[in-house]
Structure formats: C-alpha cells, structure tokens
Symmetry: C2
Subunit: 327 residues, 2 copies
C-alpha cells in the first residue's frame, strides 16, 4: 500500500471544508481563521485496548474515534470546527478497510459540521486512531470548564446511563442478550459502538449558564470526581434518580451485577454532566429540548467540601469502581 | 501504572502555558485565543517503524516527535503555538520512561515557545507519539503553502542535506563510523535523532516573500515533487549545488552508495525547500542570517511544465528513490 496513493484516495472522500478552513488536507498544515476562542482536545482509541476490530464494522470504529473526541468539545459547549486524524495501520488492514474507517468518520463529520482538515497515516502494530478536534466559540468565557461548580448549584445529566456498559457486556457475553428483546440489545450495543456526542446539548447548557461541565467517558463516579476536584466542591448524587437506559437493569442482573453500580461505574456513555445555578434549570431544560437532544435530568446538588457521594435509595452510598488503570 | 496518576505527574512537568492559552492541560479541552489565522498539522512516530526504542534516549524520542510536527509549521512560516500529544504506551515502558519522553518534548517546547496544551495517554502495543501542532499568523495570507511557485522563481534550501540519512546508516551499521572522525559521526547521528525544526528560517522566508515552501521529511526528490505538483510547475535542481552535510560523502561511499543520491533521496533532514522571486533572494538570505539559522543556498529554478529534474554535474539526471510506502 503506497502512502501517498492511500492519502490521495482518503482525501477524495473528505467532505467539503467548512467556512473557517482556508487550506485543507494535503499541504504541510491546514490553515484556518478561527473565531474568538478555540477548544482543542485529543482522544485516541487502539485495537485490543478500546475496541475489538473483529467485533466492529470499520465505519463504526471511525465513527467512535471522532465521536469520543467531539464529546470533549460538547463538554466545553464549543461548536465543532476541525478534526485532525492520526491513523496507525497494521499490515493486515487493507486499503478498503482504511477507506471504510474514513467513511464512518466522514459521515459523523458531515452530521456535526466538522471539517476533516488534516492527518497522518503510518504503519503501526495495531489499528490506532488518534483524533485532535478543534471547536470554536466567540469568546473564551462562553466555554465551560470542569472548574466552576458552586455550592447550591444543581447537577444535571443529559440522556441515559449504563447503555454503553450494558452494550459492552452484550458484546463480550452474547448469551446475555436473552435477557432483553433483540431490539433493545441492538440499541445497547449501538450505544457502545456508535456513541453520539451531545454537541447541541453542550452548547445549550453553556448558553443556559452551566457553571461546570464534563462528558461521561470514564463513568459517572470517576467523571463526577474530576468535576468535584476541579471545582473544589462536594457533589451529592441521588442514585435512585439516575436515568438508566432501557435494558440496562435486565442485562446487569443477568450478568450478576447491580444495575445502579453498572450505570454509575460503566464508562463511555458520553452523556454530559453539568452543574448550574438552580434558577437556570428551566432555561437549560428548554435549551436541551430545543436542541432535540436527550432530556435533562436533575440528579443531585453541589455542596461545600470535596468528593462525590452517590446515595442509595435504601440508605448508604454507592462506591462506583474508580478505575485508574492506563488503557 | 494509573492513568490519572501518570497524567498528573506528566502535567507537573509541563512548561508554563503561553499567552494565547486560557485553559491548559487537564480539562476536557484546552482553550486558546488564536491570532488571525492558524496552521495545524499532525505527525506521528511509532517504535519499530520510525525509530528504534533501544537505539534512542527517551528524551530524543520525545524531542523528535515534537520536532517533526513543528517542522510542518516551519514550512508554513507560522509561529509555533500549542502542541497536543497522543502517547501510546506499551506495558514494558514504565513511568520513568514516559516522564523522560515528556522531558525531551518539553525542552524543545520551551526552546521554541510552544505550549504543551493537552493530550491523551493510552495503552498501545508499540510506543507511539502523535503530535498535533497549532501555529499562528496574523492573517492567512502570511502563511506559505506548497502551491504558489511560479516559473522564474529561484529554489532555495536551508542548511545541509543528507545528514539524517547518513546518521541512520551509522545507527544501522555502526562499523561505517570508521569512515569519519568520531565528532562527525556523532553530529550525523544527532541529525537523525534530534532534528531541529527551522522555525525562524521559515518565518524569515515567509516574510521575504516565499511563493511556496515545504519541509524535507521524505527527501528532496519526493518533497520537491510534492511542491512541483501542488504548484503545477517544473523544478530544475542542480545536483552539484546541493549542500551536503559534513561526512555524508564519506559515510555514503563507505556504505557503497552515491553521496548525491543519498542526500537527494534520504529523508528526515527537516530543512526547508522554498521557491521565491529572484528579486527577493537578498531579503531571504538576510532574514535567514538574522534568524541565526542555517544559511540559504540557491539550488535551482522553477520552470513551466511538471516534475522534478535533478541534473548531475557530468550530464544526466539523478533519479532519487521516490518511495511511496506506508511507514
């Protein structure tokens, strides 16, 4: 496989560049004219670590690589702009598979208004996709960091939890699918393999005055911990109020796991978790509704102190696995 | 090795963020306030493909990963701004080695005014470093693309050729070092392992009116071909005028290779190759001189047509290996 030849074929399939892009893929660097502020993030997925190449369509892998990166822009309330892609290709992955990976990425890029503006392709021992995304805002103050939550703020969550973790269980142990209707199982697997970055919800929450925000990649327990630490506050979450995705309870129980535990510790839901002043809750709900994204659920409150408490209905606390393993 | 713990230690060693950075590493995304235009590029290196981990200090690997990415900004005439780093870490690479990789990168970041503003670290089967760099300019017109060379322009080259290729030969076949003084051999190996991006020279050439520019990563033959194709012109290069690095001739001959061939086809010199109107040659030479970078050598001219001709002193053309293999 020739590098320049492959790059030329990949470039042919790229969506047209957005209005900020003055020089797209194919030169030493892409040239853009940004708005007032940019948000930039890198996310990488590696075969055998974050996905199993045999279990996914190439299009789904390409989709997921871009989706997880864009989710970080959603968590800032940024408008998606450009993506720059590193693709590490092992010898057993042929040109057709590379093009299908790009097709999956390009479809999500089109749907979200993201320009695939550049990249690098090399040989690698395992299929590797590292995506750097650049989002835009008129001013840096419009972007929402993890720091900023204040005691008295309410905690809100977009969409539903546990779907990606249940989907992963179904992919690893196909026999668990008997616990739910086929359509539900398919939806859960899709949550794992084709996450949707909550870009419009993120902009809605930012515009409604979210004081701090993060996307749920590591799981609610871990990510709430990051937000609490960055903001220097304590978070109190009501476990009974957590919105579980349909089928999560059945799959968790079939696997011998506690559903709330799975939902709070399972990663990769890519929902948004935010703090905002109680007076803004109405605005935030309207913004999310208008964005035709997932509904907004209040799940707890911010208090003085530190750490995350996830209170169980019957009393006591949930201790979600706070995994800190390089993966 | 814990991911969050490692990230915290890596972050402690980062140089202070530059003036454009409003929120650095550690949040969902970095926030910057760019100037009028940005140039963005990704470059990746993988153990066993682009370097041999056993042959290099970790610091040199970190340096090279950032240097090759910054070289693309040099080729645009951009001012270096931010870098975002994906680090893929195999199980056999420990925390200390990761920190040393970052130290090598951080030293070059400091020297060039680059902020290491974010990144991602994952497990990977081979040590992988993919670096996205963002450079700045006041306006997009100040940046120099590969397209733009016009018939009648002169072709110029910064610094010297062949050093990195000779250095690679010395690393692969240590016995060849007998052909040159030890100091020369060390300098050639250093050209291979610690390339210096020609950032100030690139800005000088851009300011002096370069019409097209590229950095030499694939080798003069291949990269001149890219510039010729993008500009829609023919390039005529005088092989006798090519500035070979000291010791290249001796090492090439000891390896049974033609020195000019090695210099024109060997990659990774990361010198800049540019076209500019003849009237601007004086300005360009002064700009490079003021930048205290490598001298500027006129090496040929732009003509109507297509393709690259590298004319040998005795008549005939050099046909540098135009490698097109994914690596």
């Amino acid at each position: 496989m020739g590098e320049f030849e492959l790059l030329a074929k990949l470039r042919e399939r790229l969506p047209a560049p957005g209005p900020r892009v003055r020089l797209g893929s194919g030169d030493d660097a892409a040239v853009t004219v940004p708005g007032g502020a940019t948000a930039t993030s890198v996310d990488a997925i590696v075969d055998g670590v974050h996905f199993q190449r045999e279990q996914s369509d190439p299009e789904a892998i390409g989709h997921k690589a871009l989706a997880t990166a864009l989710s970080d822009l959603a968590a800032m309330g940024a408008e998606p702009g450009e993506a720059y892609v590193y693709l590490g290709v092992p010898a057993e992955v042929d040109e057709d598979e590379c093009l299908r990976l790009l097709d999956g990425m390009a479809a999500l890029a089109r749907a979200t208004g993201t320009t695939l503006a550049g990249g690098d392709v090399t040989r690698a021992p395992a299929l590797t996709l590292a995506v750097t995304v650049v989002g835009h805002a008129e001013a840096p103050e419009q972007l929402v960091a993890r720091a900023g939550a204040a005691p008295g703020d309410v905690l809100v969550l977009t969409g539903e939890l546990g779907g990606a973790a249940a989907g992963l269980l179904l992919l690893k142990r196909p026999e668990l699918a008997a616990a739910v209707p086929a359509e539900t199982a398919a939806r859960l697997r899709r949550r794992q393999q084709r996450p949707q970055p909550r870009l419009r919800a993120g902009r809605g929450l930012a515009a409604a005055g979210a004081s701090a925000m993060i996307d749920l990649s590591d799981g609610l327990g871990a990510d709430a911990g990051h937000l609490a630490a960055a903001s220097g506050v304590a978070l109190r979450i009501d476990a009974a109020g957590l919105p579980l995705a349909k089928g999560v309870a059945e799959v968790a129980l079939a696997a011998g796991q506690d559903p709330l535990e799975l939902a709070a510790s399972g990663g990769e839901d890519y929902e948004l978790f935010a703090a905002l002043p109680p007076a803004r809750l109405g605005d935030a709900s309207s913004a999310i509704g208008e964005a035709e994204e997932a509904v907004l659920t209040p799940v707890g409150e911010v208090a003085a102190g530190s750490g995350v408490e996830i209170r169980l209905p019957g009393g006591g606390d949930l201790k979600p696995d706070g995994f800190d393993q390089l993966r």
